[in-house]
């Protein structure tokens, strides 16, 4: 239960040639669940490591509540004194110790009796449903179990801050949902401040109250996940947090034109980037009389695929090579002409730079 204040933090490597973090400012509130989203190499892991104390900011200050823990290249409070529980991407379980010993390890560094340690470990193990495998070595456990052992080890010492570094990437897709639910439940039970770093928007939507998007070391947008989803500040942010169609079009009196498509948008530049998410696109053979959907023009089906129980249909405007795609529960064959509708208020417009 701690408030994290990141003030003007920058991090450079290789004597300034590589800028990993560029003037990042953010406050993570007490008990908040905060997500950091970004492509790989954007600086997410560096950010997390600085918060953990495994690295220091080159410039800038880091506060835990009102205590300065690191500033300008100096580590003032080392990781072992920051009361942080961390789950590493590779889980980093001690291979030579049993699950029990792994979880107990942080407690053995505090002055606790053997009895107390056993009690705590079993308590946490029960919450995470790994009580029955405590005597096994990590290599004898499944991926999901190992992950829960790692989580237990992070939680057992009652930390003020829980750090999760891409915690679900080594799990099968099926396991991820239950893992996410587990994390959320545990956090609300304990009320600990949570920071999760991921490139997968599903993690963010499942767990985070707020998300910060890191691109090339800069925090380009911060807000509730739904807000960032609906109102991304750039096409890049839009594509990081969900799927989006990206079209470059010319501005005319009648809106933005891309081939036979006309998007009803008025803007003063002459070149613009249109973004529209697949769920905001609808295809139809006949005219749709529904105010929610606005006709954009005629298109031709280029190719159809199949994903997640739905048909993924790619369409092009009649006289252009630009593509947009959407999902549908029935197939439409390639070469056929269709009417393309979009949700007018979901059209996103970005400057072309």
């Amino acid at each position: 239960m701690v408030k994290i204040i990141v003030k003007n933090i920058s991090k450079v490597f290789k004597k300034g040639k590589v800028i990993a973090l560029d003037n990042v400012n953010i406050t993570i509130e007490n008990g908040e669940r905060f997500g950091i989203l970004g492509p790989s190499g954007a600086g997410k892991t560096t950010f997390m490591r600085i918060i953990a104390g495994l690295d220091v900011p080159s410039t800038g200050e880091l506060y835990f509540d009102d205590k300065l823990v690191a500033s300008n290249g100096k580590l003032l409070v080392p990781p072992e004194d920051r009361k942080i529980g961390m789950v590493f991407q590779t889980w980093a379980l001690y291979p030579n110790l049993t699950a029990f010993e792994n979880i107990a390890f942080p407690l053995t560094n505090m002055k606790m009796s053997k009895e107390e340690i056993r009690k705590r470990v079993e308590e946490v193990a029960k919450i995470l449903d790994i009580h029955h495998v405590l005597n096994h070595l990590p290599r004898e456990l499944s991926g999901g179990q190992q992950q829960r052992v790692a989580l237990a080890r992070a939680l057992v010492k009652d930390p003020s801050l829980l750090l999760l570094d891409e915690p679900f990437s080594n799990l099968d897709a099926r396991m991820r949902d239950s893992a996410r639910a587990l994390v959320k439940e545990v956090q609300s039970r304990l009320g600990v401040t949570l920071l999760i770093v991921s490139h997968d928007p599903a993690d963010i939507f499942a767990i985070a109250d707020r998300v910060g998007v890191l691109v090339k070391g800069k925090l380009v947008q911060v807000g509730k996940p739904e807000e960032v989803y609906d109102n991304p500040v750039s096409i890049q942010v839009a594509s990081l947090i969900g799927e989006i169609n990206e079209l470059e079009g010319k501005v005319t009196n009648e809106g933005v034109v891309i081939g036979s498509f006309r998007f009803p948008v008025s803007i003063s530049n002459d070149k613009v980037l249109i973004g529209i998410r697949p769920e905001d696109v609808k295809l139809s053979k006949d005219v749709i009389r529904d105010d929610a959907w606005t006709l954009v023009g005629k298109g031709r089906v280029k190719v159809i695929g199949y994903q997640g129980g739905l048909f993924r249909i790619t369409i092009t405007p009649l006289n252009s090579d630009d593509e947009i795609f959407t999902y549908s529960d029935h197939p439409i064959h390639s070469g056929e002409e269709v009417l393309v509708y979009v949700k007018k208020d979901k059209i996103k417009v970005f400057e072309k730079n």
Partner: protein, 283 residues
């Protein structure tokens, strides 16, 4: 060229090399079983016409004390060097995490020193070493020889373990730090157990080196009763290199232990080195 011919040439080349390389140990082996007269009169490379154990019998008794001396010296030296060296190696590992400029400087200096200790000719420190040993009253003592060997082999252990310790994933150590563990505990509970193969390799290397170490005992031992096997073998050669069957038997007995270790455990050391030199598969 037909594959069969190629393969035969391949094996032939290897066979020739093997034979040449094995000649000395072959000579050492067979001549120990010859009578003294035979050793002096028949060619070295010819097997004995009659196997006799007289050389081994006469040598075994007189080499017993040196063998025991060697054991008393080598075992503590190698274990201590490998273990304390491993601790030093982990220290270097922790320095590579630290963010201060001072630690890189310390790391460089210390690392240079241990490299120096490993590769420098021990003989070059002859004079000061003897004086130091004399002033500490260590001449002709087990402690003295062990101490002198430790001067060179603890750093050697540190250098070798520095290389082997790199197989441990950094995230494990970071996790332990996050768990509030002090470095000494990290070493004892995590780093040391996980670097066991490297530790054994280092141990093997140091055992063989100290067992065969000739110079330090040469300089520090004056009483015949304290001589380890590495120097004791020399007493079996006559004035200016005349050799007897005793020489071969003594040589064999002196070499049996390191050779056995090499044959049975050497592959761990080789594997360890090859894994570092890159790609430990296939040996």
């Amino acid at each position: 060229m037909r594959p069969v011919i190629k393969a035969s040439l391949h094996y032939l080349a290897l066979a020739i090399i093997s034979v040449i390389w094995l000649i000395p140990v072959y000579a050492m082996l067979i001549n120990g079983f010859k009578s003294n007269f035979e050793v002096l009169s028949t060619p070295v490379l010819v097997p004995p016409t009659k196997i006799t154990f007289e050389a081994y019998a006469s040598v075994l008794l007189s080499l017993a004390k040196p063998l025991i001396n060697s054991l008393i010296i080598v075992i503590p030296t190698s274990f201590i060097s490998a273990f304390l060296g491993a601790m030093g190696a982990y220290f270097f590992y922790t320095l590579s995490y630290s963010f201060s400029r001072a630690s890189s400087a310390i790391s460089d200096v210390l690392f240079s020193l241990i490299s120096l200790a490993t590769f420098i000719p021990q003989e070059a420190t002859l004079l000061p070493l003897t004086r130091l040993m004399v002033s500490m009253g260590f001449l002709d003592t087990y402690i003295g020889i062990i101490f002198a060997l430790l001067i060179f082999y603890i750093p050697t252990g540190a250098l070798l373990m520095s290389m082997f310790i790199t197989v441990i994933p950094r995230s494990l150590i970071e996790a332990a730090k996050m768990d509030g563990t002090g470095d000494l505990k990290i070493f004892m509970k995590i780093v040391f157990p996980l670097s066991m193969p490297g530790f054994i390799s280092t141990l093997i290397f140091i055992i063989i080196q100290t067992w065969n170490n000739f110079f330090i005992p040469l300089v520090l031992v004056t009483t015949p009763g304290m001589k380890p096997t590495s120097i004791a073998v020399l007493s079996y050669s006559g004035a200016y290199g005349t050799l007897y069957n005793d020489t071969f038997a003594a040589g064999m007995l002196a070499s049996i232990i390191p050779l056995a270790i090499f044959v049975f455990l050497g592959r761990y050391f080789i594997r360890g080195l090859m894994a570092l030199g890159g790609g430990g598969k296939g040996v």
